[in-house]
Each structure stands twice: as structure tokens, then as C-alpha cells.
């Protein structure tokens, strides 16, 4: 099954922003990043979702273009990506602002999720096709 969704460019940076739904409640802009091994969520969303910070499964070390940082891992009840629901998927939590990520997006959609289906980007139409 193929489904088409809109995306937005982040300013003029050429970065692709898509909507992702967390726990069937929070609809948030995520950066679609095929250069990211995993999916990341801004720590502030845990406050909105009332997820206890003590429920972290542990920390992982993350390498970025700007150096290394630590992320907490949480199992999120559900993450809905282009109509596909991933249940109890581990997501890495970073305090975006504390780590210098000053941006409107609240998460980074990485290859741990993207590689599970097929994705086709149509840059001229600002749409993507999600193939399940």
C-alpha cells in the first residue's frame, strides 16, 4: 500500500520536516534524517506527555557532527509515522535546547524506523510516499 504525505522544508536549510504522533496524543514536527541511526525526541515532550523521567531504560552515547552527547532511552507506547504505528519502540531522549538544538522540530526521525518500510521523496511536490 502506498500513501502520500506532505512535508515542509525547514526554512531554506533543505531539511525535511514531517509530522509524527507520539502516544496517539502529541502531533509534532520531526526532522526526517537518513543520516541518523536512531529516532530522537526532545526531552520537553516528556513533560507534555507526562512520562516520568525516572522511567529511562538507561543512557546511550551518541556521536554527532558536533561531538558526543548522552541520550536517555525510553520505550514509547506508540509512535505513529505516516500512518504506521510502532509500539513500545525505544526512542532516545535529548534535551534539545541544552544541546544547542534551537529549532522548531521536536524530534528526529531516524533510520531505526525509516528502514522498516520504503520511502520515496518527491522534492518538487513537497510530498513523500510511504510504501507499506
Amino acid at each position: 500500500m502506498k500513501t502520500t504525505y506532505p512535508f515542509e522544508w525547514l526554512y531554506d536549510d533543505g531539511l525535511i520536516i514531517v509530522n509524527v504522533e507520539i502516544n496517539g496524543e502529541s502531533i509534532l514536527p520531526f526532522l526526517l534524517d537518513t543520516g541518523s541511526s536512531d529516532t530522537y525526541l526532545d526531552k520537553n515532550i516528556l513533560y507534555i506527555e507526562q512520562i516520568n523521567l525516572k522511567d529511562s531504560l538507561g543512557q546511550v552515547e551518541v556521536e554527532t557532527a558536533n561531538g558526543r552527547m548522552f541520550a536517555d532511552v525510553f520505550k514509547i507506547e506508540s509512535i505513529d509515522v505516516f500512518g504506521t504505528q510502532f509500539k513500545n519502540h525505544p526512542i532516545q531522549i535529548i534535551d534539545f535546547i541544552a544541546n544547542g538544538i534551537i529549532s522548531n522540530y521536536s524530534g528526529i526521525l531516524g533510520m531505526d524506523i525509516l528502514r522498516q518500510k520504503n520511502l520515496c521523496l518527491h522534492f518538487d511536490q513537497k510530498t513523500l510516499t510511504w510504501i507499506v
Binding site: 515532550i45 556521536e63 557532527a65
Partner: protein, 88 residues
């Protein structure tokens, strides 16, 4: 805590009432990626404060979103994230 009226506002109205602030919206309506309207549950220049207050005012709402009403110029590219060591 500030009392905010539970009225759904258009995104343009929200931007005028709460300029350059983070807002947590209850039951937002989208047109594709664009926020059309929503009820402001919390607003603050500090993203963390807005998020905490928004979480405390969730009752009665089903969906939520977090957005900034101004223009944030991205100054950091986080691409090429790679987990290098996991204890899990």
C-alpha cells in the same frame, strides 16, 4: 499559574497574542503540516516551562502540539547521529 481561557484560536491569532513564545496547544487542527487552530494550554519564552505547564493542563484534551510562534533560525545541524555505545 496564569489562567488561560479555553478558546480555540487560529494560528495567526496565537502568533499575535503570544509573540516569540513556545505554545502548547490542545486539540490542534492541521492542514497538512500547518497548524490552523488550537487551544493555548500554556505559553512561555522558555520551552521547558511551557512544556511543564502544558502537561499540567492536559485534562479535557485529546491531542497536543508544541510550537514556537516566532522565527527560530536553526544554528545547529544535528545530522549524522550515531549511537556509539549502548548499555541496553
Amino acid at each position: 499559574m496564569e489562567i488561560i481561557e479555553n478558546i480555540s484560536l487560529s494560528w495567526d491569532e496565537i502568533k499575535i497574542q503570544y509573540p516569540d513564545e513556545w505554545v502548547v496547544l490542545g486539540d490542534p487542527i492541521f492542514d497538512g503540516m500547518q497548524i490552523l487552530k488550537g487551544t493555548v494550554l500554556a505559553h512561555h519564552p522558555d520551552k521547558r516551562v511551557a512544556s511543564i505547564e502544558g502537561g499540567e493542563r492536559r485534562e479535557g484534551f485529546v491531542k497536543f502540539t508544541l510550537a514556537f510562534t516566532g522565527q527560530l533560525k536553526s544554528n545547529y545541524h544535528i545530522g549524522l547521529l550515531r549511537t556509539v555505545k549502548s548499555p541496553l
